[in-house]
Amino acid sequence: MSEENLAARYAREFADTTAKMSKAAEIFAKTKDADIDVGATPKHLVMRRDKVELYRYEPIAERKAQTPVLLAYGLIGRYTMADLQPDRSLVRSLLAEGLDLWLVDWGRPGRAERWLTMDDYVDDYIHAAVERVCRETGHERVTLLGICEGGVFTTCYAALHPDKVKNLVLTITPIDFHADSDDPAAHHGFLNVWTRSLDGADVDDLVEAFGVLPGEFMSSVFSMMTPMRSLTKYNIDLIDVVDDEAKWKNFLRMEKWLADRPHHPGEAAKQWLKDLYQENQLVNGKFVLSGRTVDLRAITAPTLNVFALDDHIIPPTCSKALGPLIGTSDYTEFPLPGGHVGLFVSSKSQGRLSKSISEWLAARD
């Protein structure tokens, strides 16, 4: 290519980019935070316990499965990832499949929740929610649908209270916290590697200093896991989508979800990072909640384990480890393409995820 042509191309590319940036600034100025709605599927509050709230979603289709489904997200991030926008909402898709869907929302824990443990979350909050759902619906057992850390909570609950759990559905849930070493992908499992590089005393000191595992701190760790994506999302990716209002709003919804990262209660964070990530107590049969050892073999409910094949936060190997450890033979794995968040928000996985869950549940209702 001649120098003249090259110069002309550079000038054209520069002009195109400048025009897009100008449009980005214009659209950004016009968009209000209130226009970016996440977690918008209608629901009503049924119970409040401290900062924890139990909701029931409004039905949008004829009921196809009778057993109520209780959705539990983790304490890192918020449940809104499962209900990010109307056309990319696991919540809405499951409702459309005729499920009776409930949500336990942990709210936004802060320093006041410093002393809450996973014992409290599993044996108090989830247990109270399950009892309340049963009381409201007349069922003796519920289906638990856990996401990420929430999947660990529901797994523990299913092991400690098998009589209350009809089905267990897990999505992107770590069980063997050291199985990242079996995952060959270099970009998978940095969280596991990083946590093991710390001493237990480091975790104690962190919680002692801040009272919590700060949400901003975890955000920075997650940003490190996709370094170039984190560095280019505002200056390259954002400009790329500014021509398309739908994509632009998707981008902002994701940003809103990322920004809404509450602190993780301190004592529960110690259990999460030390007992599970560092010492892998769940698969070693040493994890104790409320004075009882969590024995995975005590899980007798049919179990569906959904994981993302390119999950860089929870490597698939960490999720798949559950199969041989639980006490039910009705165990199904459902791998899906995509990443940790993509499983819930990508257009490709939407129908497949909700359909696989609803069909699996309908067969066991």
Binding site: H44, L116, R135, D205, F210, I236
Partner: protein, 225 residues
């Protein structure tokens, strides 16, 4: 003649002098603290830093460390020790940050070398988007590889430890100042929340024992969208 621009050492010295003055004012308005302040070594050390205009050398760092870690006296120097400890923790955190940055810069250099080596030969220059995508993929790979190295994990851990230590000294200092003014401290709050959490557990255990399905505070009918 135009005034010479200030060096970073001069700027630091000015900042230290201003800091000293602000702390002196705070101490003046708090009963008891003023006396401790006037008896302290802090103004001496800070003034010396300002006079030398050389910033923080080893000699000064050593002096601050001795001050922060020396024997504790019952009636004097308490707030000064805490201030020194915080200052010392800050300098250590800055040192760890420098070590971290040195390590974190290496993958960028490697990425640059790889990208240069992979540049297409001949006249066909790629568009900046294609070139950036190629560069970004290489940089991402190098950054992730570096993050998983023992050396990176070690400097990151040391930076975290230094940051936590600095935070603790800040808390210690702020609690001392709060104490001077009779303001409840973070420790007071933590202790209260601990008592409340334990009390709540006991109450709920009792309630569950008598009525397993007793609901807690409940509100029905609130619609949330």
């Amino acid at each position: 003649m135009a005034e010479e621009p200030k060096s970073s050492a001069d700027a630091l010295a000015d900042t230290l002098a201003q800091w000293t003055e602000q702390w002196r004012k705070i101490a003046e308005v708090s009963v008891g603290a003023g006396e401790a302040w006037s008896n302290s070594m802090l103004p001496f050390i800070m003034t010396r830093a300002a006079e030398k205009r050389t910033g923080l050398g080893d000699e000064l760092s050593d002096a601050i460390e001795r001050m922060a870690q020396g024997p504790k006296l019952a009636d004097v120097w308490d707030i000064d020790r805490k201030l020194m400890a915080s200052f010392l923790a800050w300098t250590k955190m800055r040192q760890q940050l420098a070590a971290y940055n040195a390590n974190a810069s290496r993958p960028w250099m490697r990425a640059m070398e790889r990208h240069r080596a992979a540049a297409p030969a001949g006249d066909g220059a790629p568009s900046w988007r294609d070139d950036f995508a190629a560069w970004s993929a290489i940089a991402n790979e190098e950054l992730i590889r570096n993050q998983r190295s023992d050396e990176f994990l070690q400097v990151q851990r040391e930076l975290l430890q230094a940051g936590i230590e600095f935070r603790k000294t800040q808390t210690d200092l702020s609690e001392t100042v709060s104490g001077l003014f009779g303001i409840p401290t973070q420790s007071d709050y933590d202790e209260l929340s601990r008592q409340l959490t334990e009390l709540r557990r006991e109450v709920r255990a009792l309630a569950r024992g008598t009525s397993p399905s007793a609901p807690s505070v409940e509100q029905k009918g609130d619609r949330h969208e």
